[in-house]
Symmetry: C2
């Protein structure tokens, strides 16, 4: 049986409990295949895109303040889809430009994943980008505390030991996997 088979249905009843800036929270009841009904707290999220961008044997990262976890984190460029159903590649291009000031001529989709499927609808689409060129300066309104970091690919193992953001770890482990010689 495939992981993607055996879909579950939409909720039979849903009550919004909070509408926020980033997150909408609802309490929903779902009917299971056996007929029982379970209640879940669900955070709705439009989805996101994350980009592994390689430039001159370096991978591009952003260091930014993440107040929720009270740390500065080192992350791959990423951002939310503007609306559910937005083309994920369009989102990836926009975030790469806004966060790092680069455009990429070569893009490849590399799957995706749910961030926290027990409670959050967010699905993150992963893209590999190369053939980078500078574009206009970073978007106005972007957080001025975001710093672009170019990390040498020769030292990728140490970066993997250092990052503590799930989507970034996935992107970097995939990059390392693709870089290693076959066999």
């Amino acid at each position: 049986m495939s992981d993607r088979s055996g879909g579950l249905g939409p909720p039979v009843r849903s009550e919004p409990v909070y509408r926020g800036m980033i997150v909408d929270l609802r309490v929903s009841d779902y009917r299971r295949p056996d007929g029982s009904v379970v209640r879940r707290e669900v955070m709705d999220h439009p989805g996101a895109a994350v980009v592994v961008a390689v430039e001159d044997d370096h991978v591009l990262l952003v260091r930014q303040p993440r107040e929720a976890v009270e740390e500065f984190t080192l992350e791959l460029p990423a951002g939310k889809l503007d609306v559910p159903g937005e083309d994920p590649l369009g989102c990836a291009r926009r975030e790469l430009a806004e966060e790092t000031g680069r455009a990429a001529a070569t893009w490849r989709a590399a799957g995706g994943f749910y961030t926290a499927p027990a409670m959050l609808t967010e699905f993150i689409h992963l893209f590999m980008a190369s053939d980078l060129t500078p574009v206009e300066a970073r978007a106005e309104g972007e957080d001025e505390m975001i710093e672009v970091v170019r990390w040498p690919l020769g030292d990728l193992g140490r970066l993997i030991d250092e990052v503590r953001d799930a989507k970034t770890l996935i992107g970097l482990l995939r990059l390392e996997r693709e870089m290693r010689p076959p066999g």
Copy 2:
């Protein structure tokens, strides 16, 4: 500068907006190093542990209904810390036993990661477990719709293509990385 340096302070003001079964949501204001104040929606979570358990050249997974994303997902055994500050290894042992009916004689901590550091405090501790033995049947009260899946290590690449859960992808990519011959 290390990813783990440059911590940010706790909120200067916090307002709970929802107290749920799994999730507590608050709106908090943080003072940044430059003196400005930013407002964030933060979901508090006690943290979690996830286990890569290998038995007779198979990795152990659980297939379970994840209503929030309306799919059955294939995931590594994992679960929440009972309380913030619970020993993560203790949590990992408990979840492995409850979800798969196994104990492991050999454990190794393999780092950890934030699930969604923009909005969720959850930090997941990753453990590698081996030398497995059966323990008592799965805990009562465990979800009867959870199915244990033993996946052959020889087919790990296909599993990595199939899973869509972030913590599971990280655990499996790390396992594959450790299995490959050096050099």
